[in-house]
């Protein structure tokens, strides 16, 4: 599984124009070129903006869903009327399904759905979503990353600590800030990092939702792949994408593991 990735990374040091194997001359030529090439820098900036924006949205929404499902488990048992009113639309399984759906459906479907809404409904109505549309789409499939992590942690948390805090006179916000949040902070950060990584290398949904003329890093790679001339630069950028996606994931796994061992 790693051989193709290694071939790719080694090829980023290939001096020749066209990727081939074995590599004849190693050099940093293409790395230097990539570092100063303006379209790459713009694309990198776009990627970071989109990933950051969608991570923030996904972090908030994912945490809210996790709390809701956790609360539902807690109150659902005793509160009968709650069970009668809500489960049809907001039963646990349905909510779970809804959160998973954006990553379980193929990217092309998600992308086409958003693009269709933006271009055939919002645009004719005089509302141009532009750049923000990309962030909305990315946030949608990132929610599940934060949700999974936070929910897994919440399930193992002791609810009596929050009760105790309320009994001692703390308001909800105070309890959340001082008692609840510190307990799931690492899971929250881990989930957010995964969301960032997911958004950073997403390409299919981006193809359909990016406004004309705006490139993210993967989108730039994709366009460049259709032209054979600068194949080696693509390898450099691809290596950068590997690193930028792997570093958050690595930290995220470290965080999760440290917390699990601490318990």
């Amino acid at each position: 599984m790693y051989v193709p990735l290694l071939v790719l990374i080694l090829n980023s040091f290939n001096q020749s124009n066209i990727s081939s194997w074995p590599i004849e001359t190693f050099s940093f030529t293409w790395w230097e070129f990539a570092a100063t090439y303006q379209p790459i820098r713009t694309a990198l900036l776009n990627s970071i903006i989109v990933a950051t924006g969608s991570t923030i949205i996904a972090a908030i929404l994912g945490t809210l869903v996790a709390f809701a499902l956790k609360g539902y488990e807690f109150f659902g048992k005793g509160t009968v009327n709650l069970l009668v009113v809500l489960p049809i639309f907001f039963g646990k399984g349905t909510v779970n399904l809804l959160v998973v759906l954006p990553i379980a459906l193929p990217g092309v479907v998600t992308g086409v759905a958003f693009s269709n809404t933006y271009n055939n409904f919002l645009s004719p109505a005089g509302f141009n979503i532009g750049y923000f549309g990309m962030i909305v789409a990315h946030a949608t499939f990132c929610i599940v990353m934060v949700f999974n992590n936070v929910f897994a942690r919440l399930k193992r948390m002791n609810p009596s600590l929050q009760e105790a805090s309320a009994d001692l006179g703390a308001g909800l916000w105070q309890t959340f800030r001082l008692v609840t949040f510190p307990q799931f902070r690492t899971a929250f950060v881990a989930g957010a990092l995964l969301a960032f990584a997911l958004s950073f290398d997403e390409v299919v949904v981006t193809i359909f939702t990016a406004p004309p003329g705006v490139d993210t890093l993967p989108l730039w790679i994709l366009k460049e792949m259709s032209r054979p001339n600068q194949a080696s630069v693509v390898n450099v950028v691809a290596t950068v994408v590997i690193l930028i996606s792997l570093i958050p994931v690595f930290i995220s796994q470290r965080l999760t593991r440290a917390q699990d061992e601490g318990k």
């Binding site: 990735l5 790719l8 194997w21 074995p22 709650l82 909510v95 399904l97 086409v112 909305v136 006179g169």
Partner: protein
């Protein structure tokens, strides 16, 4: 409780929310559900509506109306039918290959490997999941291109590797989505109590019989959970076909090439993978497999 009510005077919102679980639940779930249902599901719904519209053949503008043409064309145009069948077969093949590799690997990791090998393998499987979709396609391209690594490695044997075609598409898709299958299967196998294996061998079952009659039935939910991803993600993919498939077309290729020219046809075609995936998810939810995602 009495302290709680006196505090209710100073923190009215907190105590109100504390007492009204339903309000609290709606407060929590309202915004995310608005996002997912109101933005995402609603977009999918609009897509369905668009599937009934059509394009003016002269101005090539989208006309709001009602026609079943788009759906009929999916089932009647020979090129569309063959593409759908080809895509379905590719997705099934990817799922099949993933299962064939995941089950032995999972058994090895969970039952035979030493703990450090197991952990190393678990990390090794997870990490490429994050190495980037496009990056992996490029990597596979580099390996299998005419002057690539694969042909170079096989040259001494006098063999030249396959050119970009359906087998490479299946291989690349498996490479992309394999972790989605391997991880739940591994977790499920690890959860099988060891005494089941002992009992099976005590009763005279050989290794293969144990796998077939004990392990497989127990890990079916995990396989279904994994196959949701391997199947549905392969079903909708088109960049793999574009870059490693030579001239291979998939459903996604048709959707992507129509999105600007003829959005209604693209919309109608999007319903094919959606239908497959929704049915699949329903089944998965019944078996409790969603919990394993």
């Amino acid at each position: 409780m009495s302290t709680n009510t006196t505090k209710g005077g100073t923190k009215p919102i907190s105590s109100y929310l504390y007492k009204h679980a339903r309000v609290r639940l709606i407060g929590l779930i309202g915004l995310p559900m608005f996002w997912i249902v109101g933005v995402y599901i609603f977009s999918l719904f609009l897509l369905l509506i668009t599937a009934f519209w059509f394009v003016d053949p002269f101005t090539s503008k989208v006309i709001v109306g009602f026609t079943l043409e788009n759906f009929i064309s999916i089932f009647t145009v020979p090129a569309y039918i063959s593409t759908s069948i080809r895509t379905l077969l590719i997705a099934l093949a990817v799922t099949g290959v993933s299962v064939i590799f995941a089950v032995p690997l999972g058994i090895y990791m969970a039952k035979i490997a030493r703990p450090w090998v197991r952990n190393a393998l678990a990390v090794a499987i997870t990490l490429p999941l994050w190495a980037g979709y496009l990056v992996k396609i490029i990597a596979m391209r580099l390996v299998f291109t005419e002057q690539g690594f694969f042909n170079w490695a096989l040259a001494p044997l006098g063999i030249s590797g396959p050119t970009f075609s359906i087998p490479i598409v299946i291989l690349t898709l498996t490479y992309l989505w394999f972790p989605y299958m391997a991880l739940p299967v591994f977790t499920a196998i690890r959860q099988i109590p060891p005494n089941l294996f002992d009992a099976s061998s005590d009763m005279g079952a050989k290794g293969f019989t144990t796998i077939y009659r004990i392990v497989l039935p127990l890990i079916v939910p995990a396989i279904i959970a994994g196959s949701v991803f391997t199947f549905s993600l392969s079903l909708g993919d088109y960049l793999v076909a574009k870059f490693t498939g030579g001239s291979t077309q998939m459903i996604g290729s048709i959707i992507a090439s129509n999105i600007n020219l003829n959005p209604p046809v693209a919309a109608a075609f999007s319903m094919v993978p959606i239908a497959f995936v929704v049915i699949y998810l329903m089944v998965a939810r019944r078996t409790g497999s969603l919990e394993r995602m």
